[in-house]
Symmetry: C2
Subunit: 430 residues, 2 copies
């Protein structure tokens, strides 16, 4: 077992020599070349594959995990292979043999947080577990939440933390349609061949569960996080967004609801596209950019923006983690532990888009549905009508619970003139 001490020499190995692993090797070797941190071994799947970076003779390329994990001269393992199967074994084995672990693997952390925490242990000699790169690539949000809010009470954390979907939504705002822009994202290498994890919000879900753990000390099982992706958003929604001075962003949210006072209620964690005011810092995040907005008692709103992925942004965060470990300044991985009631019934004002065949008495019926669901309507907007048989309009609500809005939508669907799916999404406050 390695003993944690300040200014440890940190001979390291990466498991993975792909996009991120290659970047980590390059930065540590070419840019830092500190005796405190050097990569001694790189483990890959296929030794024959041509690498897009040069491996120095002082570093061994291997395809044997055991060759790395059983090497007692290594005290820091950088896991950049991805996945939640073998990667999990790698991380748990490394930690339980006292090696520090640095990883970019959000899926692994989100799915196996409890086991990872157990493997880290709590004693003073415990190895470090660092994962700045796992959420929002280059944005130092993990470190910031770990150490800058120790005397604060966080009321909400909201993240645009998937570059692919942000890229797609920006293009859709400019008029492109969903299928078209998905193909473009795939051609550009942003989106995977199977884009489900991105467009259905699963990637954001993993990330917001990690941010929720840091902000509130609560482990939220990812399967309990209500998650809506971007696939049902259409150009009509962007038209309404525009008339509301908003844009649409896929947002992971972790927020305290207000029960008896302000933000004293259960914690709600969810993923959904949101109407975001263009004047809000989150509304200005373009392309594949990422951003996290944290609202707290002491600080009000603070926002951190930057690139969310890519070889060097991601490797940069890993290298910063490795150097903090080498310098003995890496704090505990999950400094907060708390028990907070969880609720899936989040509160927000909402946007609801309704397709109808135009007629008389519609507003009155919609109003009645709202009333019986306990929802207060704030605004009703209707864009220019081209075809009286396929009209849409949108309703915005005052702050309401998700359950109330769902009931409202169910009531709406019973109305004879309401057509197709009713689409709704929360609206972010200014």
């Amino acid at each position: 077992m390695y003993c944690y001490s300040k200014f440890t020499l940190a001979p390291s190995a990466t498991i993975g020599g792909g996009t991120v692993g290659g970047g980590v090797y390059e930065l540590l070797t070419r840019r830092i070349s500190s005796p405190l941190a050097c990569i001694k071994k790189i483990c890959v799947r296929d030794l024959q594959k041509t690498r897009d970076f040069t491996v120095d003779p002082t570093c061994t390329l291997t395809d044997s995990l055991d060759d790395v994990l059983n090497d007692e001269t290594l005290n820091c393992i950088v896991e950049v292979m991805g996945g939640t199967g073998i990667a999990k074994d790698v991380v748990l084995r490394a930690l339980s043999s006292g090696k520090h672990v640095v990883t970019a693997n959000k899926a692994l952390i989100a799915e196996h947080l409890g086991e990872i925490q157990k493997a880290i242990g709590e004693a003073e000699g415990s190895p470090s577990f660092a994962y700045e790169a796992a959420v929002c690539g280059a944005i130092p949000i993990i470190n910031t939440l770990q150490s800058c809010y120790s005397g604060d009470n966080i009321t909400s954390v909201m993240g645009i933390c998937n570059g692919t979907t942000n890229f797609m939504l920006c293009k859709m705002e400019d008029g492109a349609d969903y299928g078209e822009v998905l193909k473009e994202a795939q051609d550009l290498g942003f989106a995977e061949a199977d884009p489900t994890a991105d467009v259905e919000g699963h990637d954001v879900r993993a990330k917001i569960s990690i941010l929720a753990k840091l902000a509130y000390g609560v482990t939220v099982p990812i399967t309990s996080i209500p998650t809506t992706g971007i696939s049902s958003i259409t150009s009509v929604d962007f038209e309404y967004a525009k008339s509301m001075n908003c844009t649409i962003k896929l947002i992971g949210t972790a927020a305290r609801t207000s029960e008896h006072g302000e933000h004293d209620g259960p914690l709600t964690v969810y993923v959904a596209p949101k109407m975001v005011p263009t004047s809000h810092v989150m509304g200005g995040v373009g392309g594949a950019g990422n951003a996290v907005a944290v609202t707290s008692a002491n600080m009000g709103l603070a926002a951190y923006t930057g690139p969310g992925a890519g070889r060097y942004p991601t490797a940069n965060s890993i290298v910063a983690d490795v150097m903090r470990i080498a310098n003995g300044n890496q704090g505990p991985a999950f400094p907060k532990t708390a028990s907070l009631k969880l609720s899936t019934d989040y509160e927000s004002s909402f946007y609801i888009r309704i397709s109808i065949s135009d007629g008389l008495g519609i507003i009155k019926s919609v109003g009645a549905c709202a009333e019986s669901s306990g929802v207060s309507i704030s605004q009703i907007l209707q864009n220019a009508i081209n075809d009286r048989e396929a009209v849409d309009f949108c309703v915005t609500t005052e702050i309401a619970l998700l359950s109330q809005v769902k009931m409202f939508v169910e009531e709406l669907k019973k109305l004879s003139f309401v057509k197709k799916e009713v689409m709704f999404m929360p609206i972010m406050e200014e």
Copy 2:
């Protein structure tokens, strides 16, 4: 001499019990109440003054600096008295007796960096010196620059780091005039009775010198930093800004110039109002908000925004520093040391506003002045002319050196039809 070890108990004292000091005491006592960090003494100037926070019986209020500095049971001093005289002695005495120091005092750090560094020392048992609150209140930019860019090359750091002037510029953008808005800022308690430090950019200068030290490892004497404030900006500049899709912000900049390649030249550090595209994250910073944008090789553009001052935002950063020290995770105060050539001749594209009596051949003469100064003109804009004797227009340039633009301006002033002061400012890139 205290020996630095992980998880030190940190009995602390604050020197100062005003806006920030009171906030620090409240947060550490009411919100954290960790055995690791508690305030045992608060030193103030006037013991008779009524405090706006309650001091527990476990804490002593004193007006004797010696009572605090000679107390060997205290190992962390929070300097929140301000000023660069007594405060300097306090900080140096505390450090040289091995006490950790936390401060919010940007003026002190900027003016006496060398002496402070000497007092900290470099040995492993050296005390910590933490100053997150000194630049941009609640935004964790000090920590981020200290530990998140270790494997990166920073090309520029730009900060909106004075809330008062940002508030004033936002109001001026909405049509208010300089004198009017200065009075409003004073009435609201943003601006001091003597607003010089804010409006002439001295406060920003202190802060950008600290950010430059962190980003580049170079100590830049504040007297060598070209500094322009906001007092010569008029509503006309905001009109031109609008037609350029820009706004005007007071920006502290530290950037590498490009000599032989990209960003390989001398370091330039300066303070000036800038034309900032409204689409840039810095263009969206409203009210008394602060923001720092860092551009680097690995990360591209990352930006950090939040409140820049006020009791709790500032105290929050101090408390985070104290807790990092108590937990043994505070890294070195100034991790980078480098020698880089400095230059006051910064490069940028520029906006130049010229007042003239209208006539013929003006553009041709202006073009000749530009050519002889080596400046390429990019655009010429003229707002509606009301009075032919008092016409203004603006010229924007391609990337040029400050010295070239100054020469251009001197040439312009020689022209018979050019009136009054010629006003110029850099334009921030998209």
